[in-house]
């Protein structure tokens, strides 16, 4: 191993770390001799979990008192890395707060950041892998200047596996005063209710796109998803149009899904969308346009109108249940 220490941003999420954080901890321990996690808020009580996934130390930025995590967490990491303890690289999950931390830290440390990473290897130094142009090209990149480089990794790039390690030592790493930059605070949180399995975890995902024609047609997507005990997803186009909440979005800016089967209905297959679902085990596409790019990656393509195929599919599924 040419890498000695990797730091991983471990994002707290309802009493645990996010799945992507655990994926990064798992992969980091295969690349470096020493893995260190950084967390905040409720994450400070998760020394056992961080250790189980391979971290020796868990730095805890502590209670952010409502501040958005980007600035205080970056300030704490800066203080740690400038105290002489800098890692070879810092791995950050692709998420709202993860991207904020990466951007803030990059400017504070004057260090580069590589985003949309889907693979990490040690080839005499850290090499990142990216997919560009809708996943048609694979690009490998590396940092050239002094470290630590900052790497933002997409969800589901690696598989999270416990190493059964001993609890990590929890060490307080306060942010200190962040001045004006840290003055964005959360006044209220709103949770949008969803039923059924989570989009990222469902074995069946049924997604709708602009081909549905109107917002009310999305109920067909929800019904098929329910009948298959799956989750309902959406393309960016109909999320932007306000038909469904953002939490349903699959794609570059939305969720990455890798279900047993992905059923794309009225989705043409924009680059943006394909990146989020092309890792699915099986892909079924239903679209009016026979030339839609989605058919190039579909195991089963139905060239047809979703307004005819979906009602028939709903009837067929109901008849079986």
């Amino acid at each position: 191993m040419t890498l000695s220490t990797l730091w991983v941003l471990a994002e707290p999420s309802s009493g645990s770390f996010t799945t992507t954080s655990l994926e990064l901890l798992t992969h980091a321990r295969s690349l470096a001799t020493n893995v260190v996690a950084i967390t905040w808020g409720d994450g400070g009580s998760l020394g056992a979990l961080a250790g189980e996934y391979g971290a020796t130390t868990l730095y805890d930025v502590g209670d952010l008192k409502g501040a958005l995590p980007g600035v205080p967490v970056a300030a704490a990491i800066q203080a740690l890395s400038e105290s002489g303890d800098a890692p070879d690289a810092l791995l950050i999950p692709t998420s709202y707060d993860g991207r904020d931390v990466a951007g803030r830290l990059s400017a504070r440390l004057d260090r580069p950041v590589l985003t949309n990473v889907i693979g990490l290897s040690d080839e005499g130094g850290l090499v990142t892998e990216h997919q560009v142009f809708g996943g048609s090209m694979a690009v490998k990149a590396k940092f050239t200047g002094p470290g630590p480089g900052i790497v933002v990794v997409r969800a589901k790039s690696f598989v999270a596996e416990s190493a059964g390690g001993p609890a990590a030592a929890v060490v307080a790493a306060p942010a200190g005063d962040t001045g004006a930059t840290g003055s964005a605070v959360v006044a209220n949180s709103h949770v949008e209710e969803r039923t059924g399995p989570k989009l990222e975890e469902a074995t069946v995902v049924v997604s709708g796109g602009r081909g549905l024609g109107e917002a009310s047609a999305y109920t067909m997507i929800e019904e098929v998803a329910k009948l298959l005990n799956g989750a309902a997803g959406a393309s960016r186009a109909i999320v932007d149009a306000g038909w469904v909440p953002y939490s349903h979005q699959v794609g570059q800016t939305g969720k990455t899904v890798k279900p047993l089967v992905y059923i794309a209905c009225g989705i043409s297959g924009a680059t943006q969308h394909m990146v989020g679902m092309k890792g699915s085990k099986n892909i079924v596409a239903i679209n009016k346009d026979a030339d839609a790019p989605i058919f190039q990656i579909a195991d089963l393509g139905i060239v047809g109108d979703v307004h005819k195929v979906l009602p028939a599919l709903i009837d067929a599924l109901k008849a079986r249940s």
């Binding site: 964005a184 943006q272 139905i302």
Partner: protein, 257 residues
């Protein structure tokens, strides 16, 4: 209230993308205003309108002489445009881009800086937050609603579970998602007026950033570019009333049913 909107001119996303000989995105064709930026421009116009007046300045960076995308933003109603245009900016990474934009924005009057969450060509998504840090501003990313009350900013910010209501004092930086507002179309009058609106072109030397940005300032390099392992297209049928049955049969073969 004065607002700066960061915009990017990008190759038409509908056209095939490729790399040039230096592994930079090929930008030799016609450039257009990134659609993702039209939401920021619209948001700025609406906020200035509500505040009872002010200027909307669009700020951009590029390596060529193309300004059609900026004229488009002016046609929508922006007051003036500034572009840092310099051959030496080719190969700039996200942090270099933020340094250039920060230097250009410091020359403007602003209470608020708006940007898209990410561009539709590079998708890096870190430049706005790097920019906020360089300008010493608080930032709120992934805004789905934005309002200003006095000197306080109120933003609905998307989260995994729903959204947060986030506040920050002005001046601040906000990244807006597509769908935050409905962008207007440029009117004929707007297009005509845009032709005589101020459009300032700055060089890297004007900003005192020689040797620090562009390929000279990039601290990452591409190791290899290869065709990705591609999925093979499977069977394709034209629906003749049997499309749903084909789907059911497929779900049976993979044991979902």
């Amino acid at each position: 209230m004065d607002i700066v909107v960061c915009v990017k001119q990008i190759p038409d996303p509908a056209a095939p993308q490729s790399f040039d000989s230096s592994n930079n995105l090929n930008r030799s064709g016609k450039l257009i205003l990134d659609e993702a930026d039209t939401y920021g421009v619209e948001m700025a116009l609406q906020l200035v309108d509500k505040a009872g007046g002010g200027e909307v300045t669009v700020v951009s960076m590029g390596s060529g002489a193309d300004v059609a995308g900026l004229r488009n933003a002016l046609a929508l109603g922006a007051t003036k445009a500034v572009i840092v245009s310099d051959d030496s900016l080719r190969g700039s990474d996200a942090l270099s881009t933020a340094k250039v934009l920060a230097a250009a924005i410091k020359r403007q009057s602003f209470d608020l800086v708006l940007a898209a969450t990410e561009s539709s060509d590079g998708y890096t998504g870190t430049t706005p937050v790097q920019l906020a840090e360089l300008l010493g501003l608080p930032s709120i990313t992934f805004a789905k609603a934005v309002s200003v009350e006095g000197t306080e900013l109120k933003v609905s910010r998307q989260t995994e579970a729903g959204y947060d209501e986030v506040t920050a004092p002005l001046p601040a930086l906000v990244t807006v998602t597509a769908g935050v507002v409905e962008p207007r179309y440029a009117s004929f009058k707007g297009i005509m007026a845009a032709k005589s609106k101020p459009l300032e072109v700055l060089s890297v030397a004007d900003l005192g950033l020689e040797g620090q940005v562009g390929a000279a300032g990039a601290r990452e390099e591409i190791v290899s570019v290869e065709a990705a392992e591609s999925r093979q297209a499977g069977e394709k049928y034209v629906d003749e009333g049997d499309g749903a049955d084909k789907v059911v049969a497929f779900l049976e073969t993979i044991k979902v049913l």
